[in-house]
């Protein structure tokens, strides 16, 4: 993070994260909400790319943008007519949500600022672990310390259970 270009890209990514996540929860049309969520997830993938986790950014785009948002759009179109809006919020409920969100913002923001303004991080260690595909494959399919074969298998069983569960729950009786 040194050149002007990367600052500009960071600015675009951070601004789109903030703007689109606010729009996601404030727009009254549910389909637009899903679209703004898609943009937020893309911006998150951009953040991963900025942090040099290319594989994670690719997974974010493939799974979230390719899978989850499509699922959202399908279910929105199944359960509501396009173009109908949610009704206006009661001001009490909106105030409750705003208070909860602002309280979270205040508490966590204070914690972050208090911590990171006092403590210095270790000077940037440049020997970052390589995150090329070969090492990721070794990390995922190894059984030694810091290797993840067991969670990998557990996730695959979980996905199988999820497929069966989804079919059983949503099928027409």
């Amino acid at each position: 993070m040194d050149s002007v270009g990367s600052y500009i890209i960071y600015g675009i990514v951070a601004l789109s994260i903030v703007v689109f996540s606010v729009l996601t929860v404030t727009t009254r049309r549910i389909l637009r909400s899903a679209t703004y969520l898609l943009f937020t997830l893309f911006a998150t993938a951009g953040l991963y790319f900025l942090l040099d986790y290319e594989f994670l950014g690719a997974v974010q785009i493939a799974v979230y943008a390719g899978g989850i948002v499509v699922l959202f759009v399908f279910s929105i179109l199944l359960t509501s007519r396009p173009g109908d809006k949610s009704e206006k919020l009661a001001s009490r409920r909106r105030m409750l949500g705003g208070v909860a969100a602002l309280a979270t913002l205040a508490v966590v923001g204070f914690a972050i600022f208090a911590h990171f303004s006092s403590c210095q991080l270790a000077p940037a260690v440049e020997q970052a672990a390589s995150v090329d595909m070969t090492s990721i494959g070794h990390f995922l399919l190894g059984t030694e310390k810091f290797q993840y074969l067991l969670p990998f298998e557990a996730i695959s069983v979980l996905l199988l259970a999820c497929i069966i569960g989804g079919v059983v729950v949503a099928r027409r009786r």
Binding site: V25, L41, F74, A129
Partner: protein, 103 residues
């Protein structure tokens, strides 16, 4: 003052707060699920950022995020299956109309 790490944590924090706001104010169940997705995503960003800035020699945060993304996909698929099933029974997806366990 560690500006470099705050630069990444603050957008994630704002995203999380938006998720909290939406989770409380929304009535449509799919919109609630979308807010949940926002919160999950913000937490994922935090794992990756802490991995990059605090332990750059290791990959624990990255793999945790990888597995969290897979879990999020599974959770969303099941929740949407439940919502579609509920839609058949109640004819809309408003949380106020789903106050009985039996139908």
């Amino acid at each position: 003052m560690e500006l470099e790490i705050l630069k990444y944590l603050i957008p994630a924090l704002i995203m999380f707060c938006c998720g909290v706001y939406g989770f409380i104010t929304r009535k449509n169940m799919i919109a609630i699920l979308i807010s949940l997705e926002l919160m999950l995503n913000a937490v994922d960003i935090n794992f990756v950022v802490f991995n990059r800035f605090l332990f750059p020699g290791q990959l624990e945060g990255m793999f945790f995020t990888l597995f969290a993304i897979a879990l999020a996909a599974a959770e969303t698929a099941l929740a949407i299956a439940i919502i579609v099933n509920l839609f058949r029974a109640v004819k809309n997806v408003d949380v106020r109309n789903v106050n009985k366990m039996k139908f």
